[in-house]
């Protein structure tokens, strides 16, 4: 009988070992698991490794929460979600995360905004007054979510049940300086207008609305996309001349003014070029910047297939 029990035990241990060896992470490699989750990319391939890593971390205790949150600083967007979920799971376990450590993490604004917002929600859970008080000081917080909540609170306080004549224009202007989300910006500008203060929305967002455009140049069948037309050579070499003429698709063409005068500063090329198809057009604007910085170009078209850009210092 003893021999049979020994054999059964060995069999069960063998089965247990077989199951354990399917994981490629060592049983206690929490930092390896965190690194795995930090780098998760889209698609199917990373899933099994992510699952194993999450499972390993979920089995740890709550002492790991801050490490997991810190890891979000260097994580991919999908990785941040995996890490968020692990942090949430761990936080509910014993011995719990100290409020001091959460507050320390939260006050370090270098950390990932989503992680800080999560911690903010924990710190203020069930404490509406504390939440309100903290938000009062966070209009310029580095976390978009925290900033959004702070501005929403301040905006409501400034405008709820307030007659037009009594809208606090100065406070609203300060809020506008802090606001980044388009919805909030539009709301604040709307209230400022009621208070008699006009704000151009496109200017607020820093959209460059004054352009010079020229064309059309032939691009029927997309054949000329990589053609360097003389106007482009001149632009790249700095030989821009506002009164220059070039041979275009339908005859000689010259630079024209194009101004985006709607709320988003968008320039509509269609009326300027009479909805020309199979064509290349060039647009030029100048923004004097004190330092090198990136800018964003946005195109909205149902038929556009490609565009290119050059920037000159």
């Amino acid at each position: 009988m003893k021999n049979l029990l020994k054999i059964a035990s060995v069999a069960m241990l063998a089965m247990g070992s077989m199951i354990a060896s399917e994981s490629s992470l060592p049983a206690n490699d929490a930092s390896g698991a965190i690194k795995t989750l930090q780098s998760i990319e889209p698609g199917d391939k990373p899933l099994r490794a992510a699952q194993q890593a999450a499972k390993l971390l979920q089995a740890q205790d709550s002492k790991l929460v801050i490490d997991v949150l810190q890891a979000m600083d260097q994580a991919t967007p999908l990785g941040k979600n995996w890490l968020t979920s692990v942090a949430v799971s761990l936080r509910s376990k014993s011995p719990g995360v100290s409020r001091d450590s959460l507050e320390k993490f939260f006050t370090e604004t270098k950390h990932d905004g989503e992680a800080r917002y999560l911690v903010f929600s924990w710190l203020t859970e069930g404490q509406a007054d504390l939440r309100s008080k903290m938000l009062e000081t966070m209009l310029d917080d580095s976390s978009p979510e925290i900033r959004y909540a702070a501005i929403a609170q301040a905006f409501e306080r400034a405008t709820k049940d307030v007659a037009k004549e009594q809208l606090p224009a100065d406070s609203l202007k300060k809020l506008l300086d802090s606001a980044r989300h388009p919805n909030q910006v539009v709301e604040i500008i709307g209230k400022l207008k009621e208070a008699g203060v006009e704000v151009h929305q496109a200017n607020h967002f820093g959209f460059l609305a004054n352009w010079k455009v020229i064309g059309p140049f032939d691009n029927v069948g997309q054949k000329a996309f990589n053609t360097i037309y003389p106007v482009e050579s001149d632009l790249v070499s700095g030989k821009f001349a506002a009164d220059a003429n070039y041979a275009g698709k339908n005859g000689e063409v010259a630079w024209k003014d194009a101004v985006g005068d709607d709320t988003e500063g968008a320039v509509d090329l269609n009326p300027i070029f009479e909805k020309e198809k199979g064509a290349i057009v060039y647009a030029r604007t100048v923004y004097p910047s004190k330092k090198a910085q990136s800018c964003e170009l946005r195109l909205d078209a149902s038929t556009l297939t490609k565009f290119g850009s050059t920037a000159r210092k």
Binding site: A11, M12, L47, S85
Partner: protein, 412 residues
Amino acid sequence: MYKTKLQFWTNLIVVATVAYSSSSLAMADWPTFRGPNASSIAAKANIPTEFSAEGSKNIAWKVPMPGRGVGGAIVVDGQVITTSSSGIDQRRIFVTSVSEKDGKVLWQQQLVARGRPYCHPSSANAAPTPVTDGKRVFAFYSSNDLACLDLQGNLLWYRALAVDYPKAGNDVGMSSSPVVADGVVLVQIECQGDSFAAGLDAETGETLWRISRPTQANWASPLAAKTADGKSLFILQCGKSLEAYQPTSGKQLWATEMACSSIPSTSYDGNQLFVPSKGLTLLELGSQDQPPKQAWNNNKLGANSASPIVYKGSVYTVNRTVLVKGDALTGELKWQLRLPEAGSIWSTPVLAGKHMFVFTEDGRCFVVDLEEEGGKIVATNALGENVLGSPAISGDSMFVRSTDTLWKISRN
């Protein structure tokens, strides 16, 4: 003798392991959108016909949710589980589990949506109803984020399907609820961009198969059905056709050309499919790979948003503010009952005993006695909050997800 006894013990270990695995599947009272078999029916449930937010009459508990939600709740393992979305553009997405018994929040998981979360103001990013296979919960969002959790709220896997397929999205909002069968989770993502349906491995989240779908907005949900001989089918409807797929392989079993609605979803009863198409159309299923045959069609049995319900030989639909009853066998219109000043009705009703509970968008509930000739409204109740999601039933309790709150309605 040694070998025989070793075999005995090995077999015992294997049997014990299998028995443990089976018993770890929790009881799911209301596992999916429209409940067991997507029927919207809890025939034996005794739900109070009168309840009210004011005075908490027959309101056992109500729990504020962390955000907005327009999907329904599911019930599994004594937990009532629902989704929410809040924050900037409703990007913060939550799965909340509440104790069925006392309304205590058992766990809450959260992520940040990586797809497009935008939707009509009446909707929410948390629009689809989650689904469970008894050991996992699959929570899906309009942003095409899909999370799989265990019943303790731990994330098992996560897919940002709009990152994998960047043109998948609809800024009016998407709402098709996922279904699960044979270890496969089906998501139906139909829109004017990347339009597809995909079967994912329920255990790992890996894509088992993916099929292109028409590039047209579609808010209807797929159906996980069984043929009369017990074989599983995934049924997908769209503006051009009704199609059946084998869950594990994604093999198309049949396709029938028909213009199906893009909002109310197909229901089934035994081997009959009640399809919201040109009013309502009954198709009779044959074997798994045989196209169904049309038995009848009646354009007076149409529904605008809620899905049809089939019960005791009758079929019920909601056409704007009118509850309609038809004969399930013949398609004959039996009666129509106006729900006075009902306004908009998005939620598919539920049926408990002889009563149907129809929730309006503004949170009123018409309770209709179906056994009365012509149907009779026996009560009109008010929760005071918008309701777009369909209720869930477990035991003698009804769980309603209003836009900001989860409610348990049962006798005080």
